[in-house]
Each structure stands twice: as structure tokens, then as C-alpha cells.
């Protein structure tokens, strides 16, 4: 093979790797799950919570694999519990507002957002609790004000850079340090706009 095409291929590959390393596109596809398809272990765990409201089960497909999610509303908060296909708890997400983030962590997050965007607005905030310890389920019945270690904050942010506004999913660790940033592709709205 000639030297020049080889160099071009290498440059293209390296460019792709470096530009995609930090900022990626988010892909998720979810569909409702029939009762018979819910992993028994996951179902048992949710039933043990004795939630009075409706619980919706989804199968979620993403770039990292397939999972099962249970979503419900309890005490005016939206909860989402994610399980693997065997029914083992992976993590719990709770939708919160900015006032529920620790003040010092919030300040670091907002400073980061101000440095990344000319202008931004926060569409949604979720706090992630890792699921390795099933005792995190006790948070549902006993919400705690202090966060634990390994908690993450996932923000959906409408951010403007230059003249363009896009939507991003940004994940911050418990200290407010940005660990992940993905652009959320807006779904086609031609059938609504025209």
C-alpha cells in the first residue's frame, strides 16, 4: 500500500478518536415491558418497597447494552431503578432540583457550566446512587439530605456555544467534577413544525 493513503487513514483515525473521546452522542431506545418479561428478582425488589402508585417497566437499549428500568413517582419525586437482564439492581436515579445539591458542589458545577457555555439552562437534574448496595432502596422511604460517596449528578443542559444551542447530558461526580458530556440528538420534528 502507498505511504500517503496509510498516513491519511492514520490521521483520520486519530482525529476521530481524539474528538470523540470526551464528547459523545447519546443514544437510548426504550420500550414498555410486558409483565411477563420483567425479571423476577427485579419485580420482587420493587414489590418489597410497597409503592402505592403505578410502576412502569421499560426495556432500555443503549450503547452500553440492554437494561430493565422501573419508573414510579413517590412522595412527589420521580424514581428510576435500573436492573440488568437478570434483575440485579444497577443504580437508582432520583429527579431533584438545584436546591437539593450540596452548596459547595453546586457552586463547582455552575462554575463549570459557565466556563463551557455562553448561556445555559438546566432542563433536568438526577442524582445517581450506584446499585451495588441494595440498602440504597431505603433512601426511597427515608430521603437523606447528605449525599454519600460515589453519588453522581446527571444534568440535562441546554447550552449555547457560539451561535448554536444544543442539549447535553453532563455527569458530575460527588465533588462536582465533570466526568462525562454527551450531546443529545434532537428527534426530528418535521411532522410537528410543518
Amino acid at each position: 500500500m502507498n505511504e500517503l493513503p496509510r498516513k491519511i487513514i492514520l490521521i483520520v483515525l486519530l482525529t476521530t478518536v481524539f474528538t470523540s473521546a470526551f464528547s459523545q452522542l447519546k443514544y437510548e431506545k426504550e420500550s414498555r415491558l410486558k409483565r411477563t418479561d420483567i425479571p423476577p428478582l427485579a419485580n420482587k425488589m420493587i414489590e418489597s418497597l410497597a409503592i402505592s402508585g403505578k410502576i412502569k417497566w421499560y426495556s432500555e437499549e443503549s450503547l452500553t447494552g440492554n437494561t430493565v428500568e422501573a419508573k414510579f413517582r413517590y412522595n412527589e419525586k420521580n424514581y428510576s431503578l435500573e436492573f440488568d437482564n437478570e434483575g440485579n439492581l444497577q443504580d437508582m436515579e432520583i429527579t431533584i432540583d438545584t436546591t437539593e445539591i450540596q452548596e459547595n458542589v453546586k457552586e463547582i458545577i455552575f462554575k463549570k457550566l459557565e466556563s463551557v457555555f455562553n448561556k445555559y439552562s438546566i432542563y433536568k437534574i438526577q442524582v445517581h446512587y450506584p446499585g451495588k448496595n441494595p440498602e440504597i432502596l431505603s433512601i426511597i422511604k427515608n430521603p437523606q439530605k447528605e449525599t454519600t460517596n460515589n453519588v453522581k449528578y446527571e444534568l440535562v443542559v441546554n447550552g449555547k456555544t457560539g451561535n448554536t444551542t444544543k442539549q447535553y447530558e453532563m455527569v458530575f461526580d460527588n465533588n462536582g467534577i465533570l466526568t462525562e458530556k454527551k450531546e443529545i440528538t434532537q428527534k426530528n420534528a418535521d411532522n410537528l413544525e410543518f
Binding site: 431506545k29 426504550e30 414498555r32 448554536t164 428527534k187 418535521d190 411532522n191 410537528l192 413544525e193 410543518f194
Partner: protein, 240 residues
């Protein structure tokens, strides 16, 4: 979200009540037909896009409520339009374009301006579209001797609900409901038109959707004889 439930009730009940009231008028006339359309969007650089649309109307039946209908299949018109639009923000779009309406014995020209806002909520999308159009008859003939300009202001609210999951993904069905209000005036006359369009759609992939539903229109609202139109709406949306 408190307003979600009340919005859903509004979008279903109010237009149905309106239809019931107007249907009670024995003088009302109606027509039934089909209205297929093809919508092709071309994405351009710098958030620009071109929207090309062609739509036809075919009439099957018309008449007055309570009387024997006239069943006669005939072609009513074809519309060909092109709108250039630009995303002005994450959820907003501004556009302007031109439409040519071809009828049996005349051609009508129309200029269009529109602004739309699409918002994503937890389990549905809501769109507001504000538009204005101006229609011209530039070539008077024996049957339509006068040149005219008709002005219209329009507001449309549309909601799209996924029928599987929390968002409309590829290979999934959705429900879409449009409700539009049009106010038009020409010379000294004016009129209001209300449209309600419930539709079932199928998302093949994000850039290809097929929709089927009923386009109900109530016009000649301010006159003694109101007109009800029932069009079978078949729409294909494709983005290149």
C-alpha cells in the same frame, strides 16, 4: 405536571363539543374526501432546511346534513409548496415560503410565514405554530374575474404521544393531535376556521414517518351555513 392532564382533556373534549354543537344545525353542509401529502425536508448547513410539500384533495361525497348526499368522485385541487426555514434556537424554527394551488379553472398563489416552537415533556412533545399567509389570484378568467388577496392568521397546537415507551423511537407508533384556528379576511368579509386532526403515525426511522388520520375542518363559521369537511389525511414525512 399539573397542566399535562388538563391539556389532554382540552385537546379531546373541547373540539368534540364544538363539533356536536355545529352538527346540530340542519343547514350545515359537509364534504368527505381524501387528502394525501408528501413532505420532504432537505437539511442544509448552518441550521437551514428546505421543506417541500405536495398535497392533493379528492372529494367522494358532499351534501347537506339530513338530506340525500351527492356521491361524486372528483379531483378538487393540488398544492405544491416550498418553505425555507432556519432553527433559531434549540426548539424554535422560523420559516417562509411559497405555495401554488392548482384548481380546475384557476391557479392561486400564496406566500407563507411561520414560527414554531417544539417542547419535549416527560412523555410527549408539544408544538406551537404561528403562521400567516396571503393568497393571490393573479390570472382572472371567465369564471373568476377578479384579482383578490386573502389574508389569514393561524395558530396550531399539536401534541405527539408515543404509544410505546417515553419517546417515539424507530419502528414505533405514535398518536398525534393537531388543533388549528384560522382567521381570514378578504375585502370586507372575514371568517374563522377550526381544524382538528387526530392521527396515528408510524416512525420507520427518525427521518421517515407515515401518518394516517382524520382532518376535520369547520369553516364558514361566521356565516349562516357552516361547512364541515372530513378529509382522510395520509402524510409521509421524509428528511434527506
Amino acid at each position: 405536571m399539573p397542566t399535562t392532564l388538563s391539556f389532554r382533556w382540552y385537546i379531546l373534549i373541547f373540539p368534540l363539543l364544538l363539533f356536536t354543537v355545529k352538527n346540530g344545525n340542519a343547514q350545515s353542509i359537509y364534504r368527505v374526501g381524501t387528502m394525501p401529502s408528501v413532505n420532504i425536508n432537505f437539511g442544509l448547513p448552518n441550521n437551514w432546511a428546505l421543506h417541500f410539500k405536495t398535497e392533493s384533495r379528492l372529494l367522494f361525497q358532499s351534501g347537506q346534513f339530513g338530506k340525500e348526499p351527492v356521491r361524486d368522485f372528483y379531483y378538487v385541487l393540488s398544492d405544491i409548496s416550498m418553505i425555507a426555514s432556519r432553527k433559531t434556537g434549540l426548539n424554535t424554527n422560523l420559516g417562509g415560503g411559497y405555495l401554488v394551488r392548482i384548481l380546475e379553472n384557476q391557479v392561486i398563489h400564496r406566500t407563507i410565514q411561520q414560527f414554531s416552537i417544539v417542547s419535549q415533556y416527560n412523555r410527549f412533545r408539544l408544538a406551537h405554530r404561528f403562521s400567516a399567509d396571503q393568497s393571490f389570484n393573479l390570472n382572472p378568467n371567465e369564471e373568476v374575474k377578479l384579482k383578490y388577496v386573502q389574508y389569514r392568521l393561524r395558530y396550531r397546537i399539536a401534541a405527539e404521544f408515543p404509544l410505546n415507551g417515553q419517546s417515539v423511537d424507530a419502528r414505533e407508533f405514535y398518536l398525534k393531535i393537531n388543533n388549528e384556528y384560522l382567521y381570514g379576511w378578504q375585502n370586507s368579509g372575514n371568517d374563522i376556521e377550526i381544524r382538528i386532526v387526530p392521527i396515528i403515525g408510524y416512525n420507520f426511522v427518525d427521518k421517515s414517518k407515515l401518518e394516517l388520520g382524520l382532518d376535520y375542518r369547520l369553516d364558514s363559521f361566521l356565516n349562516a351555513t357552516t361547512r364541515n369537511s372530513f378529509w382522510l389525511s395520509v402524510n409521509w414525512f421524509f428528511r434527506i
